[in-house]
Symmetry: C2
Subunit: 279 residues, 2 copies
DNA sequence: AAAATGCAGCGAAACGATTAGCTCGGTGTC
DNA sequence: GACACCGAGCTAATCGTTTCGCTGCATTTT
């Protein structure tokens, strides 16, 4: 590999001058600058990002840890994050915690080792762990996404899950449904608990109570939603409308409907938070 | 940050010994080893991956350049690639060329600068550019995925597009269809050209000729497929079956069908290479 | 003319690790 | 007892940059 020293030698200048030319960090007279640039070109020199990183203590790397890369919603996040960081000259390192705290922990360790300049994390959300981890994160730019953890020291981007669920439930109520069921996510996550709460609130406000068997929780997975839906819907007293916690689960529900020959929207209404294209 | 020197000082040994303990690269007597480990623990020392990289010339980073991160098919590739590299202790840096050669070129440059240890690339596929780039890539472990470019020096993973399209077309023919149309991808890509060729071959072998207006090409995009499908299908002489080049385009076609109140599979059969969940 | 100023460019010390080569004391052999 | 040998641990060079502080030289000020 050709280094800055080779370039310096070829151009008959010091490495400091080459560096100045590369980074435009100091005035270099036109003739020297030209010689340096010619040498860079001739030798096909490219600065080593690694050496630069070591010296500057920054890596121009941003990390993204998502809770489930197989979920199209989070896959879309990769797309968005890549575009954003690329626009600033950074590169994106992607990790999948797969909803496992252990994987998230490993990823965070690796991120520190790589000296990433910042991290975007969809936390797996066991708040106790975050408390202990908070100290480590202190001073390291981290933004939590989607799920709120009990950690008042981290910037977090999320939606108002309760309000969202409440709105969608009211919409179903307005359509005239009274037998509304729900398949929600894990209740230890705000995206699970909050959406369920919002739905229950909306129904309570209208004086409607969901039947016990019509409200079920599960993981944010297509197959889980499928099983739950098959079970819940394969009975005469099934709900006439279903609020499903997220897009992936809605897919599972749709598959269950197809298998049970229940037609949507003819026989049942399905609503969900965060749809994914294809539904 | 705490460095290897701090640890060495705290443990009363040289940095070489600390390094030996960390990497298990040389015998260190139990007492010293214990002291070093204690110091590492006390100081919460973590080796700087960057410094290590610089010295060893490897980054433990694998790059992935996909042609379109918004396409669920490639998003799924991110999932698979992340899992694979993580299993080997590497991390995945993701780039989106967005089907633009210029972006791909930039990503490749960045990958070299970051000293990634290898790259997985879904090439945008203008072969001329690859020829000129081949020299740069020489010696750099690169695997091309999905699309074959005119470059006999790169390892490539792909499917037999012609055979795949041929099979699916034969299936449609077996169902009794004769008015089969196709919406294919860009013809400068093997995933575009090959799939069209396979379809035409299969039809020719059965003595069936597609109608001119029933074979159209476009970009691998949902909206493009939608427009083309609307136009092609909103006529009385529309095909009774359609072979669509990929999953994203099939989504667009399905949307067009819904808008035109054409029912699938009642009124028309739709087949595609690489479905995406949700259809 | 001497002193002061400005400035282009250089030399060398970092950054934080790995590792080749050396030292130094203890064993084993003749 | 002299010699070679061995093995644990250290010293210092190295990876490829950036950057602080210095050197001369040319110009301006007194």
């Amino acid at each position: 590999m050709t280094t800055i020293k080779d370039v310096a030698k070829a151009a008959g200048v010091s490495t400091a001058t080459v560096s100045a030319v590369i980074n435009d960090s100091a005035y270099v007279s036109p003739p020297l600058r030209a010689r340096v640039q010619a040498a860079i070109h001739d030798l096909k020199y490219e600065p080593s990002q690694m050496a630069r990183n070591l010296k500057k203590g920054r890596s121009e790397l941003i990390a993204l840890i998502v809770a489930d890369l197989a979920n199209p919603f989070f896959a879309r996040m990769v797309w968005a994050a890549e575009a954003a960081v690329a626009a600033w000259g950074y590169s994106l390192v992607v990790f999948n915690s797969d909803e496992k705290p252990e994987n998230e922990r490993k990823a965070l360790a690796r991120i520190r080792a790589l000296s990433c300049d910042g991290a975007l994390v969809v936390p797996v959300g066991l708040s106790s762990q975050y408390a202990q981890r908070e100290a480590e994160r202190r001073g390291f730019p981290t933004v939590l996404f989607g799920r709120v953890v009990d950690d008042r020291h981290s910037d977090t981007v999320t939606i108002d899950n309760v309000a969202a669920a409440s709105q969608v439930t009211n919409y179903l109520l307005d359509l005239g449904h009274t037998r509304i069921g729900s398949i929600t996510g894990p209740l230890h996550l705000t995206t699970g608990r909050g959406r369920l709460d919002g739905m229950l609130q909306a129904m309570a406000q209208r004086g409607v109570a969901p039947e016990p068997g019509h409200v079920r929780s599960g993981e944010f997975r297509e197959d889980v939603a499928y099983s739950v839906a098959r079970e819940m819907l394969d009975r005469p007293d099934r709900p006439t409308a279903l609020y499903v916690a997220n897009g992936v689960m809605a897919l599972g529900v749709m598959r269950a409907l197809a298998d049970l020959s229940i037609h949507c929207p003819l026989d049942i209404s399905i609503a969900s938070t965060d749809t994914i294209s294809g539904i």
